[in-house]
């Protein structure tokens, strides 16, 4: 019986949500505490342009791999108003390591802190990495779970779509 319930739920999910059904939905204006101690909110970060949110932790291997590319896009498209917000989910016990890691990697993107996963639960970002690309008007353009090498190409394509740029032309930093 339970096996069939599982299969039924799985099929329901696939059939009902088999398209990118979160696209176009508005993102809530959640408050974010940044690594530098300042407070901001998602809507504040959207004032100048699109925002890419990513959930990560210092122990998450694929998260660290995608960070390198996200920081590159944060710098490359920054003058178009684009920003990357990396929301850290390390527990309060290991918060001390976060700043040290970010500085050693010279990352320049925004780093938010979410040690009890409150923001992650509200945005369904508990699977790491989870990327949420938000348009300037606050609507979600694209969501993605996980990372395998090579996916940075699709990430950049989505950023360019959000910025209304030609997706075929070279990226500004190339």
């Amino acid at each position: 019986m339970k096996k069939y319930v599982t299969i039924l739920l799985l099929l329901t999910g696939v059939l009902l949500f088999g398209r990118e059904s979160s696209s176009g939905r508005a993102i809530p204006d959640l408050k974010i505490k940044l690594l530098n101690g300042k407070q901001t909110s998602i809507h504040d970060l959207l004032k100048d342009g699109p925002l890419l949110i990513d959930f990560w932790a210092t122990w998450c291997k694929p998260c660290k791999k995608v960070m390198k590319h996200l920081d590159r896009y944060h710098q490359a498209y920054g003058n178009h108003g684009f920003k990357v917000l990396m929301i850290n989910q390390d527990t309060p016990r290991s918060l001390g390591k976060v700043k040290s890691y970010i500085r050693s990697k010279k990352h320049t993107f925004y780093v938010g802190l979410d040690p009890n996963q409150e923001t992650a639960k509200k945005l369904n970002g508990q699977i790491m990495p989870t990327l949420i690309l938000v348009n300037r008007d606050g609507t979600i353009q694209w969501r993605h779970q996980g990372y395998v090498p090579g996916e940075e190409v699709e990430i950049e394509r989505q950023i360019r779509i959000a910025l209304g740029m030609d997706i075929q032309s070279d990226s500004p930093d190339s």
Binding site: K2, K3, V5, T6, L9, L10, T12, G13, V14, L16, F17, G18, R19, E20, S21, S22, R25, A26, I27, P28, N36, G37, W59, C60, K61, K65, K68, T91, P92, R93, S94, L95, G96, K97, K99, S100, Y101, R103, S104, K105, K106, P115, N116, Q117, K121, K122, L123, N124, I127, W142, R143, H144, Q145, G146, V148, P149, G150, E151, V153, E154
Partner: protein, 642 residues
Amino acid sequence: MIRKILYFAFTSLVWADGIDYNAAITVNYGDSYDFYSYTENRFDLNLFYNNVQAWVQYEYSNPPEIGFSINDIRKFRIEYKPLDFTIKLGDIYEFWGRGLVLNQFDDQITNFDNGTRGLFLGYSKGPFTINHINGNTDIWQLGNDLRIPYYKHAHNMYANQVQYELNSLSLGFTQLHSKETHQKIFGEAFVNHKLNGIYASWTGENADLFLEYADKKATEKTNIIENIPHDTLKNGYGIYSNLNIYLGNWGLSTEYKRYAFDRGYSDFTVDDYGNQINFQTMPTLVREQNSTLMGRVTHQYNYNDERGVQFALNGTLPNGYYLLAQYSQLSRNEEWQSVTSINWNGSTIEGYLPSSDPSAIPYWENYQEMNGYHFDDKLYFKLGRGENYEVLELMRYFEGEGESITENWVYTDSIEWDNGWFYTDSVLGSIDASNYSIEAKLWQESRSITFPFELSYTFDNGYSVGLNFEYQERKIRNVTRGNATTFNYSDSTWLLVNPENPDTSFIVYDTQFSDGDKQYNTQFNRMISLTLSKASNWSVTLSHDQTNAFEGQRSIDPYYNPLEALVYGDIKYFTGKRDKSNPPGFIQKRWVSVKIDYSLTPSQRISVQYGSIQGGLFCSNGVCRIIPPFNDGLTISYTAVF
């Protein structure tokens, strides 16, 4: 029934005007040849309407991988945030400071949930923040069963926090009071816990500092008559500090902790209560490893009685290589002496640092890592090295003076009978006493060294290949040391192994690794996994885990599955010439699995895994759990966010 009505009321709001929502489905299914089966289905729904936010989680799990079966609303919360106020009703998860008084989370991997079902009131204006929590919490702990919790610790609690922030400075006061009904091995105890804490932090451009102190008092209600004062049970305290220094793209992180909520030379059980409560989940000061083999040998945290230091240096070289070097050392707060074989005395370790004496149950670890990219960031590599040492158990530990007494008797009367003389009386002529040193020690220690290695290459067409390899050498042995092993209660002394020569001392190492009748001094573990992936679509990973010996009982793989036969090239298996229910011997020390991850859409992901997984120690969020082996089975995971 009311919960189900509430759930459907929540769900129907999705179609209401002006309400934003998001939702997620999580499905986990597993079924192994040796009856390790589980079915977990969770549905999370978040609603947002102006200043109101709501969250509900419905779960149908029968049974879950760990925990109780459920077909109901598992969690819910409504939040209202007018102006500077926050009101939350439902399941509350908060953390204050670094968790010496309160750190709440719900970790379903280890089935640890210390959230409070109740009310949260918060006020924040300018530099001031005031928070209050009030409600009930049921925290469950595992007993002998590795999957179904047994011990229930029910808390009726309230807690308060006041925080003041001024530029780079922050100062906070915390207080928590809980009335606990604590389930023991037999019966229950009624305990009051009172915690008071203070923390401060400073953030600068090139350094930051955090300090926290918590004081705890526990009283036990030992009399059913309410008028009788409760008895003092335990007093304790905890200290944590963290100093980070940054220089360019290099960072040095230093941590110190001293948790003294209880004291003991052995593991604490559910019958040791009144000490640290599960609202207190504090920094552990060991590295949270992301290597499978290193994770299996990590230190099992002790929040009750432990002090330690940790240093971590990380930075980037000019060529972009990232370097990390970490060291931590811990021990109990006391060094212990077994005055008899069952009576132990503890003496506080002088100073602030941990002890390396085996009687203080020490642990140390160091880890070094280098990783980087090559060939236009297409090639990624990681090289690591981790080493640790731990005293796992203290069975006897005595070092001191012993006295040998020899009585010299003189015969004073005798009789002759049957051509022989027999002595009939005697007196004590003299007593010879001699002093000598006694050393009677027995402890169990573990030592391991691990080398994790990772390599991946990404091609221009979106394909990538990856190789993960981990190699580990591990020793677990009982160490017997000294010149005595047994305590004689009639003489109140440790008995010398060689009374004729008290100076004869010995040291014996007794390995704990074996495979059947054969003993091994060293356990060798190797884990290799190969991954082929296509960006944004799928990845396939083949994993092979291997050991040569077991600690304690050998695990039994009851079935020879086709994946194992395929990997080892056993053609006879596929021609029907193998007995699948009687696997060859080498299979018992190897675990093979294949995992396919497929992205149905960017927000839908399915994972299918087949094969066997070796169990072992797994730690997450500062909570450790022994995972049972999963033999010859299928697991399916599906997540969707919409």
